[in-house]
Structures are given as structure tokens and as C-alpha cells.
């Protein structure tokens, strides 16, 4: 077998050196009775060419997605991923290595982490950033747990306009900790601030608000943080579409205490849902309650600047059951991907792409409303996703879009059961949809 270099002859030779006559002698401690006798009932080994053919054939059962442009986002956004990034990610030194426990052999990984931590700090204007969570949903859940530890209170308010998967993940994570989750309704697709004022109390540890929210709505975080802080709770700002940070004010400027973000848009393909790239950002005073790995600057014996994993006394391998989280393996390669992506985009590129997404989305929304087949359900400011009610038949629309190589928008009733959401669609637009494409979409949907 090409992945196992030792030959039968070498195996025998090594057994002899070990001082046993057969392999069986080495596994005597596995009691008979629990031993697996016989042969695993899985398919016989296939050659590389057979493997390629098999997987290609399965892949063909998917749509030809490269040329099928999504009109859907909902927590997973198709942006252009530069070829320079993809090519760099293929360097084996980056993807075949382990967690950087030995800094002398891992400066590449560690410096990239430190750089991405810096980019996140610049985008969020938060003091401490930690790019070591699986995804935005689990990052939000960890932020909720963090707030319970910081505040020693047992209620968490979560806006109904937070991504449904994120909300469910938060529920799953806090379930063992006797925490009451209070859902904060929306009004006109944004957080209902009057309801927030009624629901907030001294027992509330944190309030979780997504921005832009699940409907694409742009929240007034400064106003929300005023209400949250009036009762000494923490404001957690979930960000599912981090590309928005290119033109939106930084959470750190609006009173946010913890940012729980998803950086998939920074250089990751859709990959049918993962791996993406979760991160947290917070104030320095909360540093020791953060879960996961963080890179820090120090010096080596020659007084050169180098990077190491630091503030390790929070982590599971040292603190065991007293750790801030169980997280160990993270999405390290995705951290690198985001570092490369943001380096390529730079100051100007990130601003431009973020702006382009907004403008293109507003262009499409205008056209669809004008064509007469759609109507607004809410009148609200949005970033690159928006809700429209389809006046015609949704399944016909779905079919027409698929026929023309567009992935249809999300039918929001899948997640929200209110009657008014019947036939309401959540559209997403990124830079991949040119003006020409958007005109074509409008044409298809106006027929």
C-alpha cells in the first residue's frame, strides 16, 4: 500500500527486534471476546484512478455550482476567493502541520494568527481578538457562556433576528447551565427597542444581537448598547457576514462588549457549510474568560521578535474541567486563509467590495419591487440581504431560477412560522452578481 512504507519483511524484522514472534503477542492485552474476528465488511481497496472516477461521478450529482450563482446567503456567502490565496494555502508547510505547540517550528502559523488578530482588531475596534472558534454559531454560544461566567447571572436575551442556527446552537450550549433564554422580538425587521427595555432586567447577563441581522437589517447598535448597559448587562454582537465590516462602523465604537463573528466571507468557499471561521473580540478586561487559542508577541533567546501561543492557563490541556472551554483543535487553516485574504484586499479592496455588495443588493431590491411581482414586507435599512414577498407562485419562481443557473433565495417560512412570512424570500447579493446578472434575474422573475 503506497501510504504504508514498511514491507512485510520489515514488519517481521521489527517484531524480532522487539522480541516477539508475532504481531498477536503485542495485542495480548485486548481480551478475547471483545476482539474483532474476521474482516471488516467494507468495499475492497480501489486504485487512485478508480477513486477519482467514483468521486467525480458523485460530484456530478450536484449542480454545476461554479456557474450557478447564489441568490441566497443566510450565513454562508459566496464571494470571490483569490487564486493567490488558494495557491498559498496549498503549501504543505501550512496544511500538514499540527497546532503550533513548538513555536521554533511554527512561526509561519503563529505569525499568521497574530496578523489576523490585528486585522480583526482593526475591523472591530476591539482590544482583544481571538480567531479560534469553529464558526459564528459556536462563537456566539461561547460568548453567551462567557457572559454567564462574567456576570454570574442566569438570563440571556437573544434577538429573534439572530440566525436561526446560531440561536439553536446557543440553546444547545447553555442547556446544561439552567439558563433562561428570552427571545427578543423584531419590529420592522430590526430589534424592537421598546420590547428590549421591557425585557431587560438586573438578572440578564447578556443581550445577543446580530448585525447585519438575519434579514440583512442594519441595527442601531449604539442605541441598543445604551439600553443593555443601563441594566449592567453585556452586549454581544453576532456578525454572520463579516464583509459588512468594510463599510459599517466598528462594534467597538458602539458600546459592544463581545463580538462573536463568522469570517467565512474572508477567503472561504461555501464547501456545503464548513469549515468556516469563528472569532471573538472583546475588551482586555475579559481576556482571561476567552475560550481558545491566542497568539502573542515575545522574543527568543537572540532577542528577536517571535510569536507564541499565550495566556494558556485558560485552556483545557492545562485547566481541565476548570478551563474556559473545551476547545482544542480549531479552524487554524481558515485563520491563515483569512489573513491572506485580507492582506490581498487591503484597506481599499475591503472597503470597495463591502460597498459593492450593498449597492448591488439595493439595485436588485429596487428592480424587483419596480417589476411589480414583489412587495416589501418591511421598510428597513439593509446591507446585502433583504426580504421581499413574492406575489406569484414561489415554486415556479424557484424552478425558473434553477433552470437559469441561479440558486433561489431562502424561503424564510422555513425558519419563521408567522403567517406574514408566507411566500417571503430572503435574497442575498455579493460582488459575484454583476449588474448584467441582476438585470437577468429581474427579467426571469418578471415573466
Amino acid at each position: 500500500m503506497r501510504y504504508i512504507p514498511n514491507t512485510e519483511g520489515q514488519k517481521k524484522e521489527m517484531l524480532k527486534e522487539i522480541g516477539v514472534s508475532s504481531f498477536e503477542d503485542l495485542i495480548k492485552s485486548v481480551p478475547q471476546g471483545v476482539r474483532f474476528e474476521g474482516r471488516l465488511d467494507i468495499p475492497e481497496a480501489i486504485s487512485e484512478t478508480e477513486l477519482e472516477e467514483k468521486i467525480y461521478k458523485i460530484a456530478r450529482k450536484n449542480s454545476a455550482f461554479f456557474l450557478t450563482k447564489p441568490l441566497i446567503g443566510a450565513g454562508a456567502y459566496r464571494h470571490h476567493v483569490p487564486e493567490a490565496e488558494k495557491s498559498l494555502l496549498q503549501r504543505e508547510e501550512f496544511w500538514t502541520c499540527y497546532t503550533p505547540y513548538q513555536p521554533e517550528f511554527s512561526q509561519g502559523t503563529l505569525q499568521a494568527m497574530f496578523e489576523f488578530q490585528t486585522y480583526l482588531a482593526r475591523l472591530t475596534k476591539m482590544e482583544v481578538t481571538i480567531p479560534s472558534l469553529y464558526d459564528g454559531a459556536s462563537a456566539t454560544a461561547e460568548a453567551a457562556l462567557m457572559s454567564l461566567r462574567l456576570k454570574h447571572k442566569n438570563k440571556v436575551i437573544i434577538a429573534a433576528s439572530v440566525h436561526p442556527h446560531y440561536r439553536e446552537t446557543v440553546r444547545t450550549y447553555v442547556a446544561p447551565h439552567d439558563t433562561e433564554i428570552i427571545e427578543l422580538p423584531y419590529k420592522n425587521a430590526l430589534v424592537d427597542i421598546d420590547r428590549l427595555k421591557e425585557l431587560i432586567s438586573d438578572e440578564v447577563a447578556s443581550v445577543i444581537v446580530q448585525n447585519p441581522n438575519f434579514f440583512g437589517g442594519v441595527e442601531n447598535l449604539a442605541e441598543i448598547s445604551g439600553v443593555v448597559h443601563s441594566r449592567n448587562a453585556l452586549l454581544i454582537n453576532t456578525i454572520a457576514e463579516s464583509m459588512s465590516l468594510g463599510i459599517l462602523k466598528a462594534p467597538g465604537e458602539m458600546g459592544v462588549d463581545i463580538v462573536a463573528g463568522e469570517a467565512q466571507s474572508f477567503g472561504m468557499d461555501l464547501n456545503y457549510g464548513g469549515p468556516y471561521n469563528g472569532y471573538l473580540a472583546t475588551k482586555r478586561q475579559f481576556l482571561r474568560q476567552l475560550p481558545g487559542r491566542i497568539a502573542g508577541e515575545t522574543v527568543d533567546m537572540d532577542a528577536k521578535r517571535v510569536f507564541v501561543m499565550t495566556i494558556r492557563a485558560r485552556e483545557q490541556d492545562i485547566r481541565r474541567e476548570k478551563a474556559t472551554s473545551n476547545i482544542c483543535s480549531n479552524h487554524g487553516l481558515n485563520i491563515l486563509a483569512s489573513d491572506i485574504y485580507l492582506s490581498l484586499m487591503g484597506t481599499e479592496g475591503l472597503y470597495k467590495v463591502s460597498l459593492l455588495n450593498t449597492k448591488a443588493a439595493h439595485y436588485l431590491e429596487n428592480l424587483l419591487v419596480k417589476c411589480g411581482k414583489f412587495e416589501r414586507v418591511f421598510d428597513y435599512p439593509f446591507y446585502n440581504e433583504f426580504l421581499l414577498k413574492c406575489k406569484g407562485n414561489v415554486s415556479t419562481l424557484r424552478g425558473k431560477l434553477l433552470e437559469n443557473n441561479f440558486i433561489p433565495p431562502l424561503e424564510i417560512s422555513k425558519f419563521y412560522k408567522e403567517e406574514r412570512f408566507k411566500d417571503v424570500l430572503l435574497f442575498a447579493v455579493t460582488e459575484l452578481l454583476s449588474r448584467e446578472y441582476l438585470d437577468q434575474v429581474t427579467e426571469i422573475l418578471s415573466e
Binding site: I18, I42, L51, G108, T118, S325
Partner: protein, 499 residues
């Protein structure tokens, strides 16, 4: 090395974007004033060429499996097949949106469905969830399944047994899952003390989290008794799959009575570790526990594959969407390439490799237990203490020989509490490579006696010398703009960075 920010030049760019043809749309009409930036956020300004050179340089400061032996204990750093990488990134997978209509993602669903079947056969359980993103994420999933299972039966079990030999993630996941950790001591042979287990296991205890072979590479001979004791008190047995590499075709956790089985598809099933991740810590269960799995799972109706919701007993979602899909493709491709015989051979060779290293080095680095091991062995550096040498020094010196050190930060329980290294040479390492490692280790043992300073200052041939971890923790500088950094005493020492 310089940071990307230190290579920035005003006006330079590295992006490629379609032209903005939306002059008729006004930004101020789209985004309300309360949310719109006042000025662009400053990132960096470098060209594509700068980026390629910067990261190529960075990559050269790393050491990967392709560079040589990476014998990290309990980490199974085996070769990552190239073809699997290509197949996992096929366009039809890479650009698949997780909420695309089911009829457009039949290929993705088929892979998840087929992989589930294979993993069930390999481990002897009935259904897997592909959702967990990493080993610890899978552990948390397993613990939450236990919690929900007992809650459904009206039982208030609040304790969980965790052997002292367990990885730190086990007690940490247990605590996150709302259970109190009760530690089970190891016996004189390095495995679970069955008598103590018998005393500790009661009807307030949810079960036992066990790694087998355990984290010091030893098979638990008492597994039958362990199973009888835990199940006898109505508890559940959780299998931590960190060390499954010693078990293919030899023992199936499901047959041995485990109710919940965790696997690391990264590591054991050859998918790469990526400098920390992403992995996939999938969780398999016996029939009884299928209703408690995270939702959804993939089902097949004879014609089409579906993402099917699990009913009300499910623990819910543990992340957004369905799993780390490319990792699943790679694991699937690996199993298909291996087949039943080579899977078994992988375990045989990894066990022979570990015992070979143990046999050759036990004279120089006394093992705590003199017995055959599984796929990894634990050596100690006790004999070098008298020269003032710590295990860390031996590990650092190994880098000078071009070999990644074994795991030294773990295990940390008696008799391993200090001065140990856990060596795991997986099946992708040849005898020749192991001999080089063995020779280097023997040379280091001589150096420890003859020239201990050489070890204490090691490494000498790596891109950087030994790092000051204490300083990093005392003055945590966590990004380039960190206020500590800007006014820092370290600054003068970093000014002469010129590459």
C-alpha cells in the same frame, strides 16, 4: 520576520474586483448614518506579489508532516494523501451552498450517507452525526446526548467518570455539559483501576469517558469488567477515539459495549491538521441513542437523499449547517483507498512502529511501565535530571536533528507527572525513518551527559531560537496595535527586523 503591516506602502493594492457599475445607487441612501463608517478602516496596502512572497516566507518557518517525522503522541500525524485534497475541493463541492435545494446537492448528501455506513461498520455502531467540527466538539456532543438521554428517563445523574489518564478535553467537555467530573485513578499497570471504578460508579453517575488504547498507549485489559460495571448501574460508556489508529480490524468500540463513539477524521482517517484544524470529530451511537443526535442526519428513500430532522429528543444543533464537508470527503476517499486489509495493516504497522521505538529506546529513556504498548509509547527523561536536563530540553534539541518533538506537555498524572514524552509513529513512517529518530535520541542522551548546555540552549538550527513564553504571558501583546506593544520595553529589541 516582518509583519505584513510593516511591508505596507500607501497606494499599493492586491485585489481584483469587478467594476462598480452602480453609480445610480447612493451609499448614504443604503446605510443609515448611525452605522456608516466615517473613514476607511486601515488594513494593509500590499500587492499580490508582496503577499505571495510574504506567505511563502512564512511557510518556510513551519514544519509539516511532509518535512519529516512528526511523532506527536495521541495526535496521529500521518501522511495526508494528495488525491484526497483534490477530490475534496472539486468545484461542485467547493461552491455548494449549504441551504441550496436538496435536489442540487445530492452528491454531497450521498458522500455523507456513504461515509456514515462505512464508519458504522468500522466501529460497530448504528448511526453517526457529521456535525462536530473537532474532537472536543464531538465530546461535548456526546456528553449532551448523555444528559438528554437521562433527562428523558427522569434520571438526575450529575456526575461523570473520567480517568486520570484522559485528555484535558474530556473533563472540560464534561464540565461544559453540566456534569461534575469524578476522576478514576489508573492502576499499577497504567490502565483504569477496576476496583476503584466499581466503588465510584453509582446511580448518580452518567457514565465513563474512556480512551482505548488510553492516552499512554495501553489497551485497557479490564474493558469487559468496565463495561459490566458502568452498564450495571445504568450508565453509558463513551469512547474517545483519539487513539483509534491502534484498533482498525482489531477491536470495534461498539462490540466492546461503547454506547457513544467519537472519531477524529483528521488524524486517524488521514485528513490533515492544518496547523490547528479544521478537523471533524464525528460521533456515532447505538440505536438507542439515535433520537438524541444533533439534527439533521442524512437519510435515503431509495431514490433521493435527504437532510432529515431528528425529532424532539435531539440535543439540537451544535453549529451552523451540517459539518466540515471537505474533511468528510477526504476521510471517505481514504477508507475507499485502504479497504479492509490495509486498514487492519495500518493499525498493525502503527503498533509495531511504537513497540519498535520503545524496544530500541527503553535503555536510554526508561518507560514508566515495561510492557507492550499500542500505537504510542511513553518514555521518560528521568535519568537526565541529574544533569539539569528537562524533557523540554531534549524535545527542543530534537529539532536540531530535523525531527518534530513528541508530545511533552502531556500526560501529567502520576507516574507520568513530569519528564515524559509520548511518541506516536503512525503507519506512514518507515523503519528507516524510525531508525533516524532512534539514533538522534541516542545521540541526545549522550549529549545530555557530555554537554548539557547544548540541550539547555537548544534548538540551534531552527528559524528562531527558544522562545520566552513567560514574557509573552506576563506582557500579553496580542496584536500589532496593542497598546502594550506601542509603549513597550520590547520595542528596541525588535527594531532590527530586516526580512
Amino acid at each position: 520576520m516582518k509583519l505584513i503591516f510593516e511591508k505596507s506602502a500607501a497606494g499599493r493594492d492586491g485585489y481584483s474586483l469587478p467594476q462598480d457599475l452602480f453609480d445610480d445607487i447612493n451609499t448614504e441612501d443604503c446605510i443609515p448614518e448611525y452605522a456608516l463608517i466615517d473613514g476607511k478602516k486601515v488594513l494593509s496596502e500590499v500587492s499580490e506579489v508582496d503577499v505571495i512572497r510574504h506567505f511563502t516566507k512564512l511557510s518556510k518557518l513551519n514544519y509539516g508532516v511532509d518535512d519529516g517525522l512528526y511523532p506527536l503522541g495521541s495526535c496521529t500525524m500521518k501522511y495526508n494523501p494528495r488525491v484526497n485534497e483534490k477530490l475534496a475541493s472539486l468545484d461542485n463541492f467547493a461552491y455548494a451552498h449549504p441551504l441550496a435545494p436538496e435536489e442540487t446537492v445530492q452528491g454531497c448528501l450521498e458522500i455523507m450517507y456513504n461515509l456514515n455506513k462505512l464508519l458504522c461498520e468500522i466501529t460497530g455502531v448504528d448511526q453517526y452525526t457529521m456535525a462536530p467540527a473537532a474532537g472536543a466538539h464531538g465530546e461535548l456532543t456526546g456528553v449532551l446526548i448523555m444528559r438528554k438521554y437521562f433527562a428523558g428517563r427522569g434520571e438526575k445523574r450529575h456526575k461523570m467518570l473520567v480517568p486520570d489518564s484522559a485528555h484535558g478535553t474530556n473533563p472540560a467537555s464534561t464540565a461544559m455539559g453540566g456534569f461534575k467530573v469524578v476522576e478514576v485513578k489508573s492502576n499499577g499497570k497504567g490502565v483504569v483501576d477496576v476496583r476503584e471504578l466499581n466503588e465510584l460508579m453509582d446511580e448518580d453517575t452518567a457514565g465513563l469517558m474512556l480512551t482505548n488504547p488510553n492516552t499512554v498507549g495501553l489497551y485497557d485489559e479490564g474493558i469487559k469488567d468496565i463495561e459490566r460495571i458502568v452498564h450495571g448501574k445504568g450508565g453509558l460508556l463513551y469512547y474517545d477515539g483519539a487513539n483509534l489508529n491502534a484498533s482498525f480490524g482489531i477491536i470495534r468500540p461498539g462490540d466492546a459495549g461503547f454506547d457513544i463513539v467519537h472519531l477524529n477524521l483528521h488524524k486517524t482517517f488521514s485528513t490533515p491538521h492544518g496547523g490547528g484544524g479544521p478537523g471533524a470529530g464525528v460521533i456515532g451511537v447505538r440505536k438507542l441513542l439515535i433520537p438524541y443526535l444533533p439534527t439533521p442526519i442524512v437519510t435515503f428513500d431509495g431514490e433521493k437523499y435527504h437532510l432529515s430532522q431528528i425529532g424532539g429528543k435531539s440535543i439540537g444543533m451544535i453549529r451552523a449547517f451540517w459539518g466540515n464537508f471537505p474533511v468528510l470527503v477526504k476521510a471517505y476517499a481514504w477508507i475507499l483507498s485502504m479497504g479492509p486489509d490495509e486498514l487492519r495493516n495500518a493499525s498493525e504497522v502503527s503498533i509495531i512502529n511504537a513497540n519498535y521505538v520503545l524496544a530500541k529506546l527503553k535503555k536510554y529513556y526508561r518507560p514508566a511501565y515495561d510492557r507492550y504498548c499500542g500505537h504510542e509509547c511513553v518514555l521518560t527523561g528521568r535519568d537526565y535530571k541529574r544533569y539539569g536536563i528537562k524533557i523540554l530540553d531534549i524535545a527542543k534539541r530534537l529539532m536540531d536533528y530535523g525531527i518534530h518533538p513528541p508530545t511533552i506537555y502531556f500526560p501529567h498524572f502520576e507516574p507520568y507527572a513530569e519528564e515524559t514524552m509520548m511518541v506516536e509513529p503512525p503507519e506512514s513512517e518507515s523503519k528507516e525513518v524510525l531508525d533516524e529518530f532512534i539514533n538522534a535520541m541516542i545521540k541526545i542522551s549522550n549529549e545530555a551527559e557530555a554537554n548539557p548546555e547544548l540541550l539547555k540552549d537548544a534548538p540551534h538550527n531552527t528559524p528562531i531560537s527558544r522562545t520566552d513564553d513567560v514574557l509573552a504571558a506576563r506582557r500579553p501583546i496580542l496584536n500589532y496595535d496593542d497598546e502594550l506593544r506601542l509603549k513597550d520595553e520590547l520595542k528596541w529589541r525588535t527594531e532590527d527586523i530586516n526580512f
